[in-house]
């Protein structure tokens, strides 16, 4: 389900609107994932506090969303852009790729909540496709 020219322009236009709140979106999405899908906590057992709004969640949400924003900037060549992150998730972090879908869902919920007027069904489908492509590239080095 590769990204069309239309998808790319929709995602870039969305990011022009929401990119400045990337830190907030990342923190919110990560906090929601940890709360709503507690199995994801397994990857963060070394944190003191996994609750939404906590310092480690805010910090790491920012890291994640910066990577997503970077992927938007390199949307024409996601496999290359995500290659080293894929190695990291595959070999070091060993994150079950099912979690990429879960985080994607929570990013979408967050974007919908923060930008209700902008998050039309047409924008929704392009963002969903982009995040699925991102997830696919992130899982590329797993086997």
């Amino acid at each position: 389900m590769s990204l069309t020219v239309h998808d790319i322009s929709v995602v870039k236009a969305l990011w022009a609107k929401i990119g400045s709140r990337a830190d907030e979106i990342g923190a919110e999405a990560l906090g929601r994932m940890l709360t709503v899908y507690p199995q994801s906590k397994t990857y963060f057992s070394h944190w003191a506090d996994l609750s939404p709004g906590s310092a480690p969640v805010k910090k790491h949400g920012k890291v994640i969303m910066a990577a997503v924003s970077d992927a938007v900037a390199h949307i024409d060549d996601l496999p290359t852009a995500l290659s080293h992150l894929s190695e990291l998730h595959a070999n070091k972090l060993r994150v079950d790729p099912a979690n990429f879908k879960i985080l994607a869902h929570n990013i979408i919920v967050t974007v919908g909540m923060l930008f209700p007027a902008d998050f039309t069904p047409e924008v929704h489908v392009s963002l969903d496709k982009f995040l699925q492509n991102l997830a696919w590239c992130l899982a590329e080095r797993y086997r």
């Binding site: 929601r32 709360t35 939404p52 919920v109 909540m113 209700p116 929704h124 489908v125 969903d128």
Partner: protein, 147 residues
Amino acid sequence: MVEWSDAEHSAISEVWGKLHIDEIGPQALGRLLIVYPWTQRYFGSFGDLSSAAAILGNPKVSSHGKVVLGALDKAVKNLENIKATYSNLSQLHCDKLNVDPDNFRLLADCLTIVVGIKLGASFSPQVQCTWQKLMAVVAAALSSRYF
């Protein structure tokens, strides 16, 4: 049997009280058909689903969205007994409609997103957690007669 705490009961009541079935149902079903176009397969008799605009303006989509949310209303009013409440619906989806149960998860995700858009900040992570439990229980109940 699924157990619901007092806090979960009241979180669901509060969310449900803020939603209009006639608004949320069509929006959620519309998004399902737009974002996951293979689901259109189950609605061959609905007419024009050729574009997002066509789907959002389609009266059959709108009216079926209301039917689906009407069924969710039954679940909300029978939290202690969703599995029994949905027994016939489950058989219908399995035997007659042949719907792949993965689609229940997709529709649930679309519903969550539409509710999030509607409620904004009041759809806190804790509320989303309770809502997700409802979605999971409903999807499981709908799948229960499949095997």
